[in-house]
């Protein structure tokens, strides 16, 4: 009897659901922050998460030189070493995702906001020439040289084009987002060491039971994910509500034009917003590798779609909504797949989204970054 199964494993499903939901929630924050400030759905955010998982992989296997197996066993660490390693890996993952998000904004979105942005034009010019030259030559060095040589005239042309003050239509941002998303994941799929294969991340943590609650064993990695995610969200909320930059983020989210007139540097606030979302995704990426011990060039796709769903479910643009939506989605998916079977997992998630949006089109808590308070 399936009903019997869900009752027996209810608490276990709750714990794993909350852990998965925490990861959704952290990634959802990135969608929500950017949407709140720019009214833009940053579809490339899923790849920022993916970049974070590779950051975590690099940190553990390269920077810390931890092998996948040590004398045939997992390279377990304990005590302080473990904590320091985990924190280090998380910081590197955050750095990768944070920088990734800022670069993404610079390259894929800012040129579309059209102020004759010199940096964007130069990057675009370089990329254009580089990609064009790839077709003709297959030596990376020569391509770079050709690209460098051609950058100045082409970027000048781009500048002239953007200077005409044409504001890109909203659709252009969306297309740019999708383009950037594919470009990032394919670049990793093509150029990384094992290409499109799965990467194992070193398992530093012995996944044993931390404590038992309601007859369910709570594994230590799940506990770390849930606690870590809550800590990160608290930090983000404090940042947004208590600091000057956070105040700027809220001001721009509520009324960008008025903020600008009051002397808020809106471009800086947008960079900060992308960076915050990126850092959250980086944290989520590290927690993800902690539980699943693996990553892949397209790991962000489904997770990104789910996290976006979570953001919409809670009310996109609303920080508390992202948290609620993420946790709820994680739980519903888990309970649902226990009742109907694992193959229904994704169906359940999206049916829940449809139903919620039918009755509450702005999500459970409504849209508005400005309203987000502790």
């Amino acid at each position: 009897m399936p009903d019997w199964l869900i009752i027996r494993t209810f608490w276990e499903l709750t714990v794993t659901g909350l852990a998965l939901g925490s990861i959704y929630a952290l990634v959802a924050l990135g969608y929500t922050l950017v949407y709140g400030v720019l009214r833009l759905i940053n579809f490339a955010h899923s790849e920022i998460f993916m970049v974070g998982t590779f950051g975590a992989l690099l940190a553990s296997s390269q920077f810390l030189s931890i092998p996948l197996l040590e004398d045939g066993n997992y390279p377990y660490r304990t005590g302080m070493t473990l904590i320091i390693f985990l924190v280090f890996i998380m910081l590197i993952a955050m750095l990768f995702s944070g920088i990734g998000a800022v670069v993404l904004e610079r390259v894929a979105y800012r040129p579309l906001r059209g102020n004759g942005d010199a940096f964007g034009a130069i990057v675009l010019a370089f990329l254009t020439t580089f990609i064009v030259s790839l077709v003709f030559v297959d030596q990376a060095k020569i391509n770079v040289i050709i690209a460098l040589l051609a950058t100045a005239p082409i970027s000048y042309a781009y500048m002239r084009f953007f200077k005409q003050g044409r504001k890109a239509p909203r659709l252009a941002f969306l297309i740019s987002a999708i383009g950037a998303s594919t470009a990032i994941s394919e670049a990793v799929g093509v150029w990384s060491k094992h290409g499109r294969d799965q990467y194992q991340t070193p398992r530093l943590l012995e996944k044993k039971t931390l404590f038992t609650m309601f007859g369910t064993d709570v594994r230590i990695d799940y506990a770390i994910v849930i606690v870590g995610a809550l800590l990160m969200m608290t930090a983000l909320t404090l940042f947004v509500n208590k600091t000057r930059l956070g105040r700027g983020v809220r001001a721009v989210a509520q009324d960008a034009e008025t903020s600008r007139i009051l002397g808020v540097n809106v471009d800086l606030i947008i960079i900060v917003t992308f960076a915050l979302g990126g850092v959250m995704a980086g944290g989520a990426a590290m927690l993800f590798t902690l539980v699943y011990d693996q990553t892949r060039f397209n790991i962000g796709f489904i997770l990104g779609v789910k996290s976006f769903t979570a953001a919409v479910l809670g009310g996109i643009g609303n920080l508390k909504g992202a948290l609620l939506g993420g946790l709820l989605l994680g739980l519903v998916e888990n309970y649902g797949s226990a009742i109907f079977g694992g193959q229904w997992k994704d169906v359940i998630a999206f049916v829940v989204l449809l139903v919620v949006l039918m009755f509450r089109p702005t999500g459970l808590l409504g849209e508005s970054l400005g309203k987000a308070r502790v």
């Binding site: 509520q254 008025t258 009051l262």
Partner: protein, 258 residues
């Protein structure tokens, strides 16, 4: 009194085929209260938007203390010392009154990402400073009793005054008020008059766009009149009031209506 703060030099502003401002020249002098009036659609708000950098003029230049405003980014215009309020209130409605003012005060502070994350002592000091300064401004405007109320829950009169407090927080040299008396009853208008005079006493220069003749005539040192995008009069309130062109364009209509 004689130093020119803002110089509007032969400004023409066109939107497509519509000329909103036609060769308007206007000077605002240090320390004065200049009233800018005109019938609806005369170009007052356009004038205002050009001044605060929302639009770049089609022809002519606007300079502030000798700096050409067209060359500045919008957020930099605040930094040179121009602040404004809006005809239709545009507060950050979900923030408290105090936070609204602090956003304005932040414009004067150097934003540092590192500092914000690490909560350096300088950062904390500045935060305290802007909080205190913002509170002072709320007191100055007489609305400090509702400092922690979300702006959207404030009474209308408070919201109008909060906009002025927020503009003052950017430490402007020139404060532009866009119909600050809109929707006020006579008693509130009287209070507003006093406030505007008090603001000038603090050393601010004020540009006042207003519909209400009582407010403009009582408070302004000098009044300029726009009609169909052209300046038709500029002088002392009493002179302007008796100027036949002005009466024909604006006051006459107003008198008949009331």
């Amino acid at each position: 009194m004689s130093e020119v703060l803002l110089d509007f030099n032969n400004v023409t502003m066109q939107f497509g085929g519509v000329t909103a401002l036609n060769e308007v020249s206007l000077q605002i002098k240090q320390g004065e209260i200049l009233g800018l009036i005109g019938p609806n659609g005369a170009g007052k708000t356009t004038c205002f938007n050009v001044m605060t950098g929302v639009y770049a003029p089609t022809l002519g230049t606007v300079s502030f203390e000798g700096k050409n405003l067209a060359k500045l980014k919008r957020f930099e215009i605040t930094k040179v010392g121009i602040a404004r309020t809006f005809q239709n209130i545009r507060l950050f409605s979900e923030m408290t009154a105090l936070e609204n003012v602090m956003v304005g005060a932040d414009a004067r502070k150097k934003a540092s990402v590192g500092g914000a994350i690490l909560r350096t002592s300088r950062q904390r000091h500045e935060e305290k400073e802007s909080r205190e300064r913002s509170m002072e401004l709320l007191q100055f405007m007489g609305i400090s009793d509702r400092a922690e109320t979300a702006a959207r829950n404030l009474p209308y009169g408070y919201q109008r005054r909060l906009e002025i407090a927020r503009a003052l927080a950017t430490e402007p040299k020139l404060l532009c008020l866009d119909e600050p008396a809109a929707g006020f009853n006579p008693a509130e208008k009287e209070e507003l008059n006093e406030l505007i005079l008090k603001i000038r006493e603090q050393g601010y220069t004020v540009l006042l766009i207003e519909h209400d003749m009582n407010v403009v005539m009582k408070v302004s040192d000098r009044v300029a009149v726009l009609d169909f995008g052209q300046k038709i009069a500029d002088g002392l309130p009493a002179d302007v009031r008796n100027n036949p062109a002005v009466i024909a364009a604006y006051l006459g209509v107003e008198d008949n209506a009331s």
